[in-house]
């Protein structure tokens, strides 16, 4: 029955050194279990994107053979990729999970939120998200954010205390020492938890390959009707594109991140397998967000400003 799932480096390290993926996995599992042990009502933000799929996979491993002691929360912008929604519902059913949905469309229909002139709904997620957290009294909210994504995120703690308005104050963060995460919070406050803090985009893909994790098809190269806006290939659809001046083309593309259709760009790619995707990313000279996210390009501190307001 002996199985030791560990690879060692040639020569320099002891046979007890973990591979970097094993080390990252172990750390993430530790974080999931800390939250399960210390909080009353945690929830995993689940978008159907690769990072949240990875979080779910790690959570399943952390509590096996028992069920995950958390529910899921999806902030639905109303402009989601249909393949991703289908994936979301399938996973929820398969694992018997409970899914909460906070809907941006609802807020727009009720007149609480206004559509932005640029049609981007990503920044509109903050209000439905924070209200849902307050309403359901979630005290820990797992996010798939990684520090390698963006320079404001590089300063984010694994346990990030948010006030009753969900605000992040980068100057008042608790120092994070050893693996001793301090999750104490006052009623009304909550903690954002980032188990993938130390993972890079490449780590995520390598781990997905190693663990044979299924992903929505839009992560792999496929023919798609897209049009160009601000240097990015956006999916044509009812959400508001293309405009008259923009032309739709059929191109072989894939997505590196999955967010809202209105702000997530596709990249030209012929990578149809995990190995091909990994090779492509390893050779890419663009960051994940730089290549595909419009919302981060709004200003030098776009991410920091959104995070201060409660964005994850």
């Amino acid at each position: 029955m002996t199985t030791v799932a560990t690879v060692t480096d040639e020569g320099t390290d002891s046979p007890y050194a973990l591979s970097h993926l094993d080390a990252l996995e172990s750390e993430a599992v530790h974080i999931f279990r800390e939250v399960a042990g210390e909080f009353e009502n945690p929830v995993i933000l689940f978008s159907g994107g690769k990072d949240s799929i990875l979080m779910l996979h790690l959570a399943l491993k952390a509590f096996a053979p028992a069920a995950i002691p958390f529910s899921l929360l999806h902030v639905d912008t109303g402009h989601n990729f249909p393949e991703v929604l289908e994936y979301r519902d399938r996973v929820v059913a398969e694992h018997g999970l409970r899914l909460h949905v906070a809907s941006v469309q609802d807020y727009i229909d009720r007149g609480v939120l206004k559509e932005r002139p640029d049609g981007t709904r990503n920044p509109l997620q903050t209000v439905p998200l924070t209200e849902k957290i307050a309403q359901e009294r979630f005290d820990a909210v797992f996010g798939g954010g990684r520090r390698d994504e963006e320079k404001a995120r590089a300063k984010e703690r694994v346990f990030s205390l948010r006030d009753e308005f969900s605000q992040w104050d980068p100057r008042r963060q608790r120092p994070e020492l050893w693996q001793l995460y301090n999750g104490r919070h006052a009623p009304g406050e909550h903690v954002r938890v980032f188990p993938l803090s130390n993972w890079t985009e490449l780590d995520v893909w390598q781990y997905i390959a190693r663990e044979h994790i299924e992903l929505p098809g839009i992560y792999f190269a496929h023919e798609r009707e897209v049009f160009q806006r601000a240097g990015m290939w956006l999916t044509a659809g009812e959400w508001g594109g293309p405009k008259e001046s923009e032309t739709v083309e059929k191109r072989l593309v894939r997505y590196r991140t999955v967010g809202d259709m209105s702000c997530t760009g596709a990249v030209d790619s012929d990578a149809t397998t995990l190995d091909a995707v990994i090779t492509e990313i390893a050779a890419s000279r663009l960051t994940e967000r730089g290549a595909t996210r419009a919302d981060d390009k709004m200003s030098e501190a776009a991410m920091e400003d959104r995070k201060r307001e409660g964005y994850f």
Binding site: D9, L18, A62, A66, A186
Partner: protein, 456 residues
């Protein structure tokens, strides 16, 4: 070897990429000794800075009227940092070579940010201390060496920077290396590697320098790639803090009761007799689940689930150890703390103490001394500690703790002090003696020694 250092993340197979190990390291340096340049150089020359990041830096530099891209903008992520041109908080950076993945805790160098270096060093396997070759070992260098020694960072690199400004003179480097090694060695830093570099010119950072033929050692990156990361488990006391009890209570697993946690030190084996602290109850390991997969042996830092022979009362906060190798439990903790909060820590103050997965009430009984990092002198009975102070404390806890000495185990010898009123993290604590006994002195003292070492 030099090829692999300059061509990272070339399309290797998934297996090759997965087999690399992870090194966590921290950088420390004074304000103008070139830390940002070194970090920028490591990221840039290992091709970890991507085109859009570089373009963003170029745009921002140009809009500020700078004539060259300011690489510090790569690492200063917050508005306030960019406005003030300083780094105010620890940031974590990621880069990779074909041999290893690196997590770099980029810690600010200002005197008032000692807590940031403590934060970065707490999880680091290695610390890089930067020195300006023109200035040599200064007070700040001694502080950084002392923090690395206090936090028991296993490997310390002295990077003597700006060698280009001292004509790449071997004697300049040798003198600084000697002075630093003597000082850090006295503090008990176990391994010191001195490397002469020019971060600006790129000498000995990633590429070996032709300007310093007299230097035969590794470049900074080569050293980072080859330094061993794990400890000899044979000499470690095995420790498993229980995080969570897994009880599926399903038809498939009606009786499963597993104790989940990350192994903090050493290794556990099926069949081993174990003791649970603080209760002292004993049992035997009947199974180990490594994330759903049964194994015979597991070790630090694997996250596992232990199954025991007896159905004894175990919950979050307990510590599972091999029978016969248990730490003493105590309610009187003597430790060194680094105060990290803005509000002071005073004698008589009621706090919470978080040790592994256990949080207990505690009271600060005494603050016998405060350490002056500049010269390691001690200030007796300071009464209170303020932000960035390092001091000795005596703490009484409401419940017994199974606390190792920090010297034996960084994970089970460390703790946090927390303000019970608002949850603020007040201090980072390390149980037992502050500094290690220097290697040669320890050897002289021999087995009989009840050596206080560099305690203060």
């Amino acid at each position: 070897m030099s090829n692999s250092t300059t061509e990272p993340v070339k399309p290797l197979s998934t297996e090759q990429l997965s087999a690399t190990t992870l090194l966590r390291f921290a950088t420390a340096g004074s304000v103008d000794d070139g830390k940002s340049t070194l970090v920028g150089r490591l990221l840039h020359d290992s091709k970890s800075v991507l085109t859009d990041q570089l373009e963003a830096v170029e745009r921002a530099s140009a809009s500020r009227g700078a004539d060259a891209p300011d690489l510090a903008l790569l690492t200063d992520g917050l508005r306030a940092e960019r406005e003030q041109g300083i780094t105010i908080d620890v940031a974590y950076r990621y880069f990779a070579t074909a041999r290893r993945r690196f997590i770099l805790a980029d810690t600010p160098g200002h005197v008032q940010y000692t807590r940031n270096m403590v934060t970065g060093a707490s999880t680091a396997d290695l610390a890089v201390v930067l020195v300006d070759a023109r200035n040599g070992v200064i007070e700040q260098t001694r502080r950084h060496a002392a923090v690395a020694a206090l936090l028991r960072v296993p490997h310390v690199v002295l990077a003597v920077n700006k060698m280009d400004l001292v004509a790449y003179e071997e004697t300049v480097f040798a003198k600084i290396a000697e002075e630093f090694t003597a000082y850090a060695g006295e503090l008990g830093v176990p391994e010191i590697t001195a490397i002469p570099i020019s971060a600006l010119a790129g000498d000995n950072v990633v590429e070996p320098s032709s300007n310093m033929d007299w230097y035969g050692g590794p470049t900074v990156l080569e050293h980072l790639e080859t330094v061993p990361v794990s400890h000899d488990l044979a000499t470690c006391h095995a420790r498993l803090p229980v995080q969570y009890v897994i009880r599926p209570q399903t038809a498939e697993h009606p009786d499963y009761r597993g104790y989940a946690g990350q192994i903090a030190a050493g290794a556990f084996r099926v069949g081993e007799s174990v003791t649970v602290l603080p209760s002292g109850r004993t049992s035997k390991v009947t199974g180990i689940d490594l994330l759903g997969q049964p194994v015979d042996v597991a070790w630090t830092p694997q996250s596992v689930t232990l199954l025991l022979e007896d159905d004894i009362d175990i919950s979050r906060g307990d510590l599972i150890v091999p029978s016969g190798d248990a730490p003493a439990t105590t309610q009187d903790v003597e430790a060194t703390v680094c105060h990290v909060a803005d509000a002071a820590l005073s004698v008589g103050q009621r706090v919470l103490l978080k040790h592994t997965t256990r949080t207990v009430k505690a009271i600060v009984k005494e603050i016998p001394s405060r350490l002056t990092l500049d010269d390691l002198s001690q200030h007796p009975e300071p009464g209170r500690l303020v932000a960035n102070d390092i001091g000795r404390v005596k703490i009484r806890t409401a419940e017994p703790l199974a606390l190792d000495s920090y010297a034996d185990s960084r994970r089970t010898g460390s703790f946090l002090l927390i303000d019970p009123s608002d949850g603020t993290t007040l201090a980072a604590g390390m149980a037992g003696d502050a500094f290690a006994t220097p290697a040669d002195e320890a050897a002289q003292a021999g087995a009989a020694a009840d050596e206080e070492g560099w305690d203060f």
